[in-house]
Point group: D3
Chain length 209, copies 6
């Protein structure tokens, strides 16, 4: 009979010739593809590639939105690469908001851990779906649709979001319009906002006229 | 030797037991699934299920946007169902615009057929990509990102768009915000727009305060 | 100019002829397909289809495992249907365990909310990846691989899991082997366990010899 | 502590609320979708839905091609539905051929079990890849590309094919051109074949002029 | 409060750590993967990567087919990479034809812009679907099925095709059979064509006997 | 008219600018991605990349399991890369077994070529599906579920398996538990096995306490 070590060597070499079947831990130094980041060699993968400790600390809400998103996406948690899932911590201080935004390539489930949040989304047919959520409530935001979260009540809100992509991205409408070099006349043309409003918000968010 | 008809009967019955492998023409009367509409029986499918004649006529641009989108999505062209592709005709009168919008589940390629269009999109990192397109130019709008088209120059614009989904949907930001019952205070909170602007645009687009 | 209501009617009828592009809320009374449950008519969809309030309450850990999984999968949260994401709450009492298990069609991210958990998985090449997680730590379990969670320390553990499928399923090895009618000789043959052990565990988990 | 039966009932009802996560056995009487056939209720599923006994018998090669394909696709083996895999037995008598054909939605792996086969495919750039295969040889035919199998040597050939779709379909070029009502002038125009050849082959394969 | 620039820096670094979520512009100099080309660094991406100006000019129809296909696939329009969509311009001179062909990995929608085209496809069960299309008509060619376009009437035809892949490929049956080194006896065996016809067409298309 | 060679050059350069559309033969020396291995340059691809001759020889069953799996996965058959299909030969000597195992990312179809096999799987709801298979019988093992094969009757068994992944991986429960460094107390905690049994099997399979 074959000695055990050789048997195992044989089995593992024959039956798992590549980590591709199991996982593909992101190597951020290699080229990316439409499927995500390239994979680290399996021999260099450790449990640390699958664990992220950044979600236990409140994000810094000292900003315009009084809100912070702490992502556990593949750049932070490389073991997620290629697996179609990721997570994030959401902190919203009293009076804070995660403004109207979307995730271009992901659906989201948000679970409220502390406080209350008015959360909702709008459909392609302009129907509105929103509700005030309390601790333990979960809400679905379907892929690519505009949605928002507003802190409610007397407590700062904490929630955990999950996404159907290891790197879902986030596009905030106010920043897309007012935090870059898109010319004001073009912004006004495509939004029907008046010139004063656009210029005011470009000042707020750092855009150029 | 088997007689030909029996041979063919045999082959087609053995080798193509279902239309599922080839196509799934939408039967709008049956339930839908996450994969699209249910399939018509192959025996009832004709060439008409794969042809749509509505793209030869200009859409009615007599509306707020001076623009019209004529879709050839699976409801109009049932042969598209399940095939990951669809098309639409875009007409923009002089001074018209397709306002800031997104397709929740599709990327788009737009080809200009007549006139000129200023077209662009904004990325998750708020970078702006836009250009004035002329006849024969094609532009890509990546999945789920906010984008726009503005007529330019002295001619009405005509373009054909293609989408990586048989039923891509379309969400126009101005309608999502101002053409429904989303309360004005909530709109203001999630957009940083001021109350007067929101109420003005709700009047324009038919939303309720 | 067209009156607003007609314009909106026009736009919504032309541009969103089906909920398929946006979401597909599960109608549990209709047939299922490989893509999930059939869709409710969009006209009957409400915010309630996208919200689930069951994750705020601890699951009943008064069982063999001293653990409970409270799922928010598409049957509990029908708005998830077709969206490639779901969530669950995990409660593990002191001394409790979620035994060796897998999700046949989903990867998982687990975030610890309270207490400590020894969590890990084994790869196809029999490498072991495990660690003691504390509040705020997140871990990835790649799709289809055997993994486990064991309560650690002096506090009951609470965690939230997310899955890359709206209905990921869960297969617990001990129940697959010992909680059904799989004959003991067959169990022994495919596991190398001895007869006494198999019969003992079949008694524990309710299987028949 | 909960009695075992209740525990299991609890677990199975909570943790496997639908067969969707595990499998979707085809119910041929229900509507099909782009994702395949609808699913049988899990309570009616048996091992018979996952087993097919038709591949042990040689197919009838008494036809024009001296060849037979015995499929184990989802209509014959309903447990395959939605799983992205299927199989077929190929018998080629001496002098027989599986003519130039393609599978519109599947790649194939063919393993020779008996005899020899000249098998190959042509790429989009018109490169030819072919070889004489013997017992135990496996060949790959990439998705959607034209390929063929020709019996070689003194023994009838037997092979097993696997496909990356539960219902891959099969399109034989000679039958597509000559076994239906496609008018001869159109056939000639799109193939550059001369009229006599087309009419001769339409007679052979039962097409109408 | 944080200064705006730092806020934006923070947001863009935290929330868009990679272009992977938004787009993956092809870098043709890096390795390709089954998912397409590798991605250019987002910092080097410009609007030019998303715009192609080659579709405004008629292709050169001075060839055997009196037809030309001008592709806007990911090699010509690198912004398409990974997005599941592409486009092409089709010019067919009077008397011209796009012979029987298929796209191995894509469905197609074709819109006629000028003139008339007889277009159609054949299903796996050898059913024929074809029609004469005029300006503005759109037709669907389901993935992987043999199809054709023949100019009709007194005008050269122009059409735009869209494909459900950024790099769909094109396999023309006549070139696959007669424009390479596939031996004539093998061609005859797998097509049932006679020797004279095969040799004649190999001369026409440049194949070797 | 263009000379043929230039026409073909033109067509192949225009219409097949990359092998990505047709196939992606694995280059094991380049980085892997979640979609599989990187592609060899099409100019270096030969028929050898698509043919594997290792399935004609019985695997070495002189091991603990009296069984051998000979894979034709993308590392052995690089033409499979990216195609969603692979194959393997299974040899089980008299008294042999392929113990309880799963494929994390693939469904399987197994066809018995010689002898008899007791084969089955267990579902997420702990239902058991198994049967004794004879020559020519095919069975489906749905993705990610635990399954097994046991030789039966007086003949060694031979079977061919197909998988819905080019690199499906294989996780054997007994090796996952007893052939590595997972501490015995942890193994016992997550399996309910007693200490003696765990230590005995760790000795058998080479694990450390």
């Amino acid at each position: 009979m074959l000695p055990i070590p050789f048997l195992l060597l044989l089995l593992s070499s024959i039956l798992s010739p590549s980590s591709a079947a199991d996982f593909c831990v992101a190597d951020l130094s290699l080229p990316t593809s439409p499927a995500g980041f390239s994979c680290k060699k399996e021999s260099t993968v450790t449990i640390s590639d699958f664990v992220f400790s950044g979600l236990g600390v409140a994000g810094n809400t000292n900003n315009k939105f009084k809100a912070a998103v702490t992502p556990a996406f593949s750049p932070q948690l490389p073991g997620l690469n290629g697996l179609g899932i990721s997570a994030a911590r959401l902190d919203i201080a009293i009076g804070g908001v995660v403004p109207l935004h979307l995730h271009p390539a992901a659906s989201e489930v948000l679970v409220v851990i502390q406080g209350s949040i008015i959360a909702g989304f709008i459909s392609s047919s302009n129907s509105v779906y929103y509700k005030t959520l309390h601790k333990g409530d979960a809400i679905v935001f379907p892929q690519g649709l505009l949605h928002f979260q507003v802190q409610s009540g007397g407590l700062p809100a904490v929630a955990f979001g999950s996404f159907s992509s290891p790197n879902p991205g986030l596009q905030i409408v106010s920043l897309a319009l007012f935090a870059n070099s898109l010319p004001s006349p073009l912004v006004e043309k495509v939004t029907f906002l008046d010139d004063a409003e656009v210029k005011k918000l470009k000042k707020v968010f750092g855009g150029t006229d």
